[in-house]
């Protein structure tokens, strides 16, 4: 591969893999909001 193609490909792939992995890791490790939520009383689902 020529160097510009290789650099662009590696940069793009590393960027996308890195950012995707980071945000998915955050999804996996972020605690859910409290089960009992005063907002449920104010904004009950179902209108």
């Amino acid at each position: 591969m020529n160097s510009s193609a290789l650099i662009l490909m590696l940069l793009a792939n590393l960027l996308v893999v890195g950012v995707t992995g980071y945000f998915f890791w955050r999804v996996l490790t972020t605690a859910p909001p409290d089960a009992v939520d005063e907002d449920e009383a104010n904004f009950p689902r179902g209108g």
């Binding site: 193609a5 662009l8 490909m9 955050r26 909001p33 907002d39 904004f43 689902r45």
Partner: protein, 532 residues
């Protein structure tokens, strides 16, 4: 899906949303668009458009959906209605796009999906073994010409599977399918990417190394960055790859609780789509195709902006060069990942339709799921029976292209300018598990609408754009050429095609009008019930 539905897990939600976005285009359209628009340099306008248009629209649609869900609304007519001032009653009819698009796209998309199922079967059963490239290519032509009942059988099977999954509800159906389908899609994609990239010239009939194809795809033509058409192509690709402007994201997000995060979820799902598109989509089709066919041929085959022909009519032949076992595995992996990409998208198309029927007319989940299946069957029949008359293409153009852009343009105006960016920003950031850069407040209000309006105007007036398409300019030119050549058979065929094309447009308009009438009826019912 009723208001009692909810997502079973956050991972399930993100996978379902990513699945909604990931479709056949990630593997078939992106590589072709990149090749035709600057090669490796395409990634620059592509990522810029992702940041300035894709992500903002994701934030907007996720938060609109959650907002609507807290009011008991799970489809866009009344989600938009709840965001607009009481006097602006027409926004609910703008929301009709969010049901129409899903129904009309599902009508032809499920047929497309059934092809991948059929090709998986043919890969396992060795149908392509010993066939020439022309025979493999003709297999597709004969398939869509309905030479046998097989296409119909697979289509009905596919519809039934979609409907059955939808009837199981959000967590028991859609989420479960995504938790199975998305990981398998990624595993299959990695397998094929490794196989493609490691192709060696001289082995198994390959004429080029896999890296030649990668080189072809990624070699940058930086001068293309100054070409407005390249930016338009990048914006278009980002638009379609994220499945924004359809109304399905709002529906999925409407089953969140009011304090559930949308920002991190939207980021994760959006970037997951980019991983599938850039990393996997960029490493399968082109390396394998160039490995066997050479650069020039592949360039010609993707000149139209899509790798569809390569994906269905050429790749099955190329896989045969790897021996029967690996060919079967590769065929199952390739068409399997296309199938999972397809079904996770078509399931997302079903949920807004079901949500509307359940919310507004009190239908039960099962009844609304099977009704969706029936509607898709009826609406899809013309695309199946008259595929070669251009009906499929018409549905794809109006519902799968124009409709999306129009709706996205209007919804962001509602969100940023009528609902108001202050309230909108509060919606995006409420419960957020990440800090959303405040620059997005400016981008959503000023930059994204300008990009969307530019995309819309570009597609309106460009050569072969909306105005030309309404006037059937291309076909009339072909008819004139055939008449000049005294080719009566071609003139007759084209006139027949024109009839089917105009007929399918009328049908789509009728569907839109019917949904608008149902929204009107729903509003009357709400009035009687004392709801907005």
């Amino acid at each position: 899906m009723s208001s009692k539905e909810s997502w079973g897990s956050r991972v399930g939600l993100v996978l379902a949303m990513a699945g909604n976005a990931v479709g056949l285009g990630n593997f078939l359209r992106f590589p072709a668009q990149a090749i035709n628009n600057g090669g490796g340099a395409f990634i620059i306008p592509y990522l810029v458009c992702f940041l300035l248009m894709g992500l903002p629209l994701l934030f907007v649609e996720w938060s609109m959906g959650r907002f609507g869900g807290t009011h008991g609304d799970h489809s866009t007519p009344f989600i938009l209605n709840s965001m607009a001032p009481k006097k602006q009653k027409l926004w609910k009819y703008v929301g009709v796009f969010g049901i129409f698009t899903n129904l009309a796209v599902a009508a032809y998309y499920c047929y497309l999906e059934s092809w991948t199922l059929s090709y998986m079967w043919h890969s396992i059963s060795g149908s392509f073994q010993g066939q020439t490239r022309e025979q493999v290519g003709n297999f597709f032509n004969e398939y869509v010409a309905l030479g046998s009942s097989e296409p119909i059988v697979f289509w009905i099977l596919c519809l039934a599977l979609n409907t059955w999954i939808l009837s199981r509800g959000l967590s028991g159906g859609v989420e479960m399918a995504s938790k199975i389908g998305m990981p398998l899609l990624i595993i299959f994609g990695i397998f094929l990417a490794v196989r493609g990239v490691t192709l060696t010239a001289g082995e198994a009939g390959a004429i080029n190394d896999g890296t030649v194809g990668l080189n072809f795809l990624w070699t940058p033509k930086f001068e293309s960055i100054w070409d407005f058409k390249v930016w338009l192509a990048a914006a278009g690709q980002i638009f379609f790859t994220l499945s924004v402007g359809m109304g399905s994201i709002q529906c999925y997000a409407s089953y969140l609780r009011s304090r559930d995060d949308v920002a991190l979820n939207a980021m994760s799902a959006g970037w997951m789509n980019e991983f599938v598109e850039v990393c996997l989509g960029g490493a399968i089709l082109i390396p394998i195709a160039v490995g066997y066919l050479g650069i020039e041929q592949v360039q010609q085959m993707v000149a139209g902006g899509s790798g569809f022909g390569l994906g269905f009519q050429t790749l099955p032949f190329l896989f045969q060069q790897w021996g029967p076992v690996l060919a079967a595995l590769a065929g199952v992996a390739w068409f399997g990942l296309l199938f999972f990409a397809g079904i996770t998208s078509s399931l997302a198309m079903g949920t807004p339709v079901m949500g509307f029927l359940q919310d507004e007319f009190g239908w039960k989940r099962q009844a609304s799921a099977w009704t969706f299946g029936l509607m898709v069957f009826v609406l899809g029949l013309p695309t199946v029976l008259f595929y070669n008359y251009g009906v499929f293409g018409e549905y794809d153009y109006w519902a799968g292209t124009v409709s999306l852009v129009v709706f996205a343009m209007l919804e962001i105006i509602l969100f940023a300018w009528i609902f108001g960016m202050d309230k909108g920003w509060a919606e995006i950031t409420r419960g957020a598990d990440i800090r959303v850069p405040v620059i997005f407040k400016f981008i959503i209000k000023y930059v994204t609408p300008v990009i969307l309006i530019s995309v819309f105007l570009g597609s309106l007036v460009s050569s072969g754009g909306i105005i030309d398409t309404i006037a059937n300019k291309a076909i009339h030119a072909q008819i004139a050429a055939a008449q000049a050549a005294s080719d009566a058979a071609t003139v007759e065929r084209l006139n027949t095609q024109l009839l089917y094309i105009n007929g399918s447009r009328l049908l789509l308009v009728a569907v839109f009008a019917t949904i608008a009438w149902l929204v009107y009826r729903a509003q009357l019912r709400r009035g009687l019930a004392g709801k907005k």
